[in-house]
């Protein structure tokens, strides 16, 4: 029995119809996106919490992310992430073009644009891996005090950063990495830093033009550089050599910065990765004609929603990690 228009209007929410004019699958994707958006905002806001809590000593992003492929030793802040942002926005555009081609039931165009989207996503994940590699490897190295503060080295003559490898002296020692194989089996340690604390400290004391830069920011937002005498006092507090960053130590400054960087960009990267995998599945389904037979390309639309959401999150991650 066919309902009249008036009956349809009256029974809009009692089942069998689409009150929101969207299919079940699309609505569920929106449910997921809204809850995932809240998850990401929880992460980003907790990053904001840590940052405002340490507002006078937070690492300066421009000094942390300075690499660009094939430009060795050139200080290029921002350019690489800007490129990554463009790649992701562009792959978002090819995705929406695929959705549009799907509306016109144009199989070859959907295939082509889906392929471009997948390539863009893969390039983005690769770029992120490269960014992680540089971040983990570190550049200059630093000392860490007992309180967890990072001491970085500056050449007082020209104000430039100095790598610990440039001035550390070599002191022969028998200290070697403690492995599970040559001690109690449940105790072992990772790789030792290239230099011991003593080697760095004595090298520092021997070089009269070196001073220390601490984490605290001055009123202009620059890291405070100590005088030579203060530096010599400060270096006495050092307990560890830090090279690069991991979840426990971070040569760039506050260790929370590294933790949040790994966690949030990692979680986002995982989303991009799963997006690429889902896109691949849909891509092959398009090729073998599943949606052609089904009569509509709504699956492309659903995965498109997810893909745009990933792009949307990156816009925020980009702002809060690299710009602000």
């Amino acid at each position: 029995m066919e309902l009249t228009a008036a009956e349809k209007e009256a029974n809009l929410w009692s089942g069998g119809q689409r009150p929101l004019n969207a299919s079940y699958g699309k609505l569920m994707m929106w449910f997921f996106i809204v809850s995932d958006a809240l998850t990401f905002s929880g992460f980003l806001v907790s990053y904001g919490f840590s940052r405002f809590k340490n507002i006078d000593s937070w690492p300066i992003a421009d000094e942390v992310f300075t690499h660009f492929p094939f430009l060795h030793g050139i200080d290029a802040p921002m350019y690489y992430v800007a490129l990554m942002t463009f790649i992701l926005i562009f792959s978002s555009v090819t995705m929406v073009l695929a959705v549009d081609a799907g509306h016109h039931m144009n199989k070859s165009k959907v295939t082509f644009y889906m392929l471009l989207t997948i390539i863009g996503g893969a390039v983005f994940v690769g770029s992120q891996a490269w960014e992680w590699k540089n971040f983990i490897k570190g550049e200059y190295g630093a000392l860490e005090t007992k309180g967890g503060q990072i001491l970085q080295f500056i050449n007082a003559d020209n104000g430039e950063r100095v790598s610990i490898a440039d001035f550390s002296i070599s002191i022969p020692t028998e200290r070697s990495a403690h492995k599970g194989s040559n001690g109690v089996w449940y105790k072992s340690e990772g790789t030792l830093p290239s230099y011991s604390v003593n080697e760095v400290v004595e090298g520092f004391q021997g070089n009269k033009n070196l001073v220390i830069r601490i984490e605290k920011l001055d009123t202009n937002g620059q890291k405070i550089i100590l005088s030579r005498d203060d530096s010599l006092d400060k270096v006495e507090n050092a307990v560890a050599v830090v090279e690069g960053a991991n979840l426990v130590h971070n040569e760039y400054g506050n260790r929370l910065f590294a933790d949040f960087f790994f966690f949030i960009t990692g979680f986002h990267g995982f989303h991009v990765f799963s997006g690429v995998v889902i896109n691949l599945i849909i891509f092959f389904n398009v090729i073998i004609g599943t949606y052609e037979r089904r009569g509509h390309y709504e699956m492309v639309e659903k995965v498109g929603l997810y893909w745009h959401f990933v792009d949307l999150v990156w816009v925020f991650v980009f702002t809060f990690f690299y710009l602000v």
Partner: protein, 127 residues
Amino acid sequence: MAEDLHKLAIFRGLLKFKSNVQKIWGVLIFLSIVTTIEVVLGILKPEFLLSYFLNMKLLNWIFIILTLVKAYYIAWDFMHIRDEKGSLQGSIVLPLIILIPYLIFILVLEADYIFDVMNTGFQSWNF
């Protein structure tokens, strides 16, 4: 399907596109321009934007506002919220714009308080 239901005007009707594909490219150009502005500002860091407004640099406020603008156009044109029914638009956007600012308010205010305690308290983090 909804191929004829696309709303093709952006900027409150200032810019109208002939087809959905054209609108997509138009939005891409707009997003690229905004991103370029952000990157240029981030590299140059003009002196007059480094003054503080509500405890945050003017430059950072500009970044956040531009980010929200980009988010709006990604959601509205790429995710087609513009073409959805008002009730669906509301059920997607309202929970977010109610809950997220609330969370930001609570945590950032608390962070600022903790900063003050550590900054002005007897104990100092100087070791």
